[in-house]
Symmetry: C2
Subunit: 439 residues, 2 copies
């Protein structure tokens, strides 16, 4: 328990202690590292400056880690230092600790209401890679596009599907512009359409940030890789299905994905999710190849996490009303994040601090006790647009996302009073008519 | 003509005036901006500091542009300022100019022999995108993999094929490690191989660096895009064909490409290539779709360049001997770089200074008067490894590149005395046995 008031239903319990980058609204707006508890955020640069984190940082060279506009310097530290600092922050807010509680001056300067601050991109992102490791999505997307009976690729068991994304379009923006491009939908259209996408979709993913970097020419193993992960965020891999469908053969997704990827601003550290570890699904039967040994994890390794992933839709006709439309479980991931880092470095390629790895669309078996579908994108929910989704009891339906609609992700592990969650990732779609041409 | 001695055959004539980043060997190694003439490099930070470029920079805010470890700040300036600065540098070295010539102290400090300096990555690269815009390569690669009669994708006329690459593995290194991965070659192999690639290839490309950035939500047009290009380099898109073949369906190339991309260190500015402009090939007949209007250039626009692209191979058995194996012409590009920038921003996605766009493998019709094949990769030269290439009169053959082999690209426009060239891009392959596993 904390001496700070944290609502029982908050994703940001003392158990969580996420990290982010904030600036105080109205002030000069200097960006600093922060954590969040309930509806408060804490300026960690001040706690660090006052020496309250000194013993946790002991042994790690370098200047102020939180008096910085990004978390890259902090994330690059060894995992053991990052863990110590997290514990030291938690400790300052524990009921039993008086250091900060009984220092009203520092409290007033360091603790802000969430409504008084602005959140920013938590790290500079050198590279963004997007994976696809949920079998339910692989099968569901194939079915939506090509019809029944499309199997997973033969390499599914042996390697995680992936493509490089565009780091420059990853942001914490809460509004995105509908992209324009060349489209040819899934029908056997004779004409190529040119203009705004008519099949705008979202994909619910979890992203992992690389912390401690690797050296060029050095391969990780599944057992060493976790220590190179700084933490996790929600990730919306916005997708213009009609642009993607026309462009992606044979080199993969490009403009249909690279126009916008949004992430949630609070980075959840692996230590916070440790109590919610889960095992991975069994290998698929009937695929021709064995899993490669360098990627294999021991049978009893719990490298997945039980995380509830909920999507709600706010329709443009009634923006304040949330319609839950999907609930899935992250534990269906077929490859764990440590395996993804291993896969990426096996070639000898380095990972840099701030590199972002997306999990791919989180679709799973139905979540126990839930009546919602467990599919992580409209492509699956509307069967490629052919069977529009009835949106709650609104009387409206959606094949794809319309201008003015808002997509809201939420994800959490654990129970009331000790939830470890990501908060919300909100994205409202603005009309393509706002795109400008250059001078 | 210059008062500085520049060999007639040099790529780095007064007409060129490329930009790069150097440090003086042995000294403290501070990185600064530089140009190159013949076998000399010129420290531009000193010329700038002495005020010799002041009038060219006039009107552009900001501090020293060349006393920086990268050229990003300079590249971000408006195209007109970049052009003025290039002319001011050229002017200082013209025979008629005495300012620098008659200042022996400054000459001694600013002008170094190329052998006395180290070259570095010229810009920080936020994003790397690789295109494929040479029809001869599209057809040749398809033929090598799938056999005769494979047509170009139906979207070939309407959009440039592209995928996002890995910015973190782009370098000016002259040695690369053979990557390891999961391989399944082009045969109907039952087994997935795991280990070092057995089909290591190179791809001869030209890369364009973005200079002046664009704003998020702002689309370029073919006529406005050139002013956003800072300059050009040679680019080797190293490719492990057996890894690539297994991984790339359906999301495109990943580990088979992202282990290493090397570029030449001197950035050739568009102004230097202006005299070598060329028109684009005609649209292909028989493809079902018209070119989209937003991408279309006027018929008489010369947006291509006549650039000779030569590849030589140095075999591990005789490393000092160059065997020329290919000569192609860049003017076969089916889309121009201004069109590529337009394509990429039409979605609303921004371009950042330092973003690198690869042209795709430069294969062309045979170059007039040349007896060498005009194919820009081993995949085409050895027909997918099935018909090994006889390497000159060495008596040796290569299906793919072996450990210890060195691949050397060279490219130039113009004639002796006024050549505008890229110099060489060299890459020697080291054994995968040098890869390390992490602690």
């Amino acid at each position: 328990m904390s001496w700070l008031e944290i609502p029982a239903e908050s994703h940001f319990s003392l158990n969580n202690t996420p990290l982010g980058i904030i600036s105080v609204k109205g002030a000069e707006g200097q960006r600093v590292g922060a954590t969040r508890y309930g509806d408060y955020v804490v300026d960690l640069s001040l706690l660090e400056q006052e020496g309250l984190l000194a013993s946790a940082f002991k042994g790690s060279e370098g200047g102020a880690r939180f008096n910085q506009p990004t978390l890259n310097d902090f994330a690059a530290l060894p995992a053991s230092t990052r863990s110590q600092v997290r514990l030291a922050i938690q400790q300052l807010f524990a009921s039993s600790s008086s250091t900060l509680r009984d220092n009203p001056d520092l409290r007033a300067r360091a603790i802000h209401k969430i409504s008084d601050v602005q959140v920013h991109l938590p790290l500079t992102i050198p590279d963004f890679v997007d994976y696809s490791v949920f079998p339910a999505h692989g099968l569901g997307a194939g079915r939506a596009i090509f019809g029944e009976g499309i199997p997973l690729p033969p390499s599914w068991n042996t390697l995680p599907m992936a493509y490089n994304g565009r780091a420059g379009t990853v942001s914490v923006k809460e509004e995105i512009l509908r992209p324009q491009g060349q489209t040819k939908a899934f029908s056997a259209a004779r004409e190529v359409g040119v203009g705004p996408s008519k099949a705008l979709d979202w994909e619910f993913e979890i992203g992992a940030f690389v912390g401690t970097p690797t050296e060029d020419g050095t391969a990780l193993t599944p057992s060493t890789a976790l220590s190179h992960i700084f933490g996790f965020v929600l990730l919306n891999d916005w997708s213009a299905r009609d642009i993607q469908a026309f462009e992606m053969v044979p080199l993969g997704p490009f403009n249909g994905k690279s126009f916008a990827t949004t992430i949630s601003p609070w980075v959840i550290m692996p230590d916070a999710l440790e109590p919610f570890k889960a095992s991975k699904p069994a290998l698929l039967e009937g695929t021709p190849f064995e899993q490669a040994e360098y990627l294999r994890e021991a049978q009893d390794v719990m490298s997945n996490y039980n995380i509830n992933c909920e999507t709600s839709l706010h329709l443009s006709s009634n923006p304040s009303l949330a319609h839950p439309i999907s609930l899935a479980n992250f534990a269906s991931a077929f490859f764990s994040f440590p395996q993804l880092l291993t896969y990426q470095t096996y070639s000898g390629a380095p990972l840099r601090t701030g590199d972002l790895l997306g999990s791919g669309t989180i679709s799973s078996d139905a979540v126990e006790g839930a009546s919602l579908p467990s599919k992580g994108c409209m492509l699956e929910l509307s069967q490629g647009g052919k069977v529009p989704l009835q949106v709650g009891d609104s009387g409206e339906e959606r094949a794809w996302i319309q201008d003015g609609d808002e997509v809201v992700f939420s994800a959490w592990a654990g129970e009331e009073g000790g939830k470890v969650g990501f908060g919300q990732l909100r994205g409202k779609v603005r009309s393509a008519s706002e795109l400008k041409a250059t001078e």
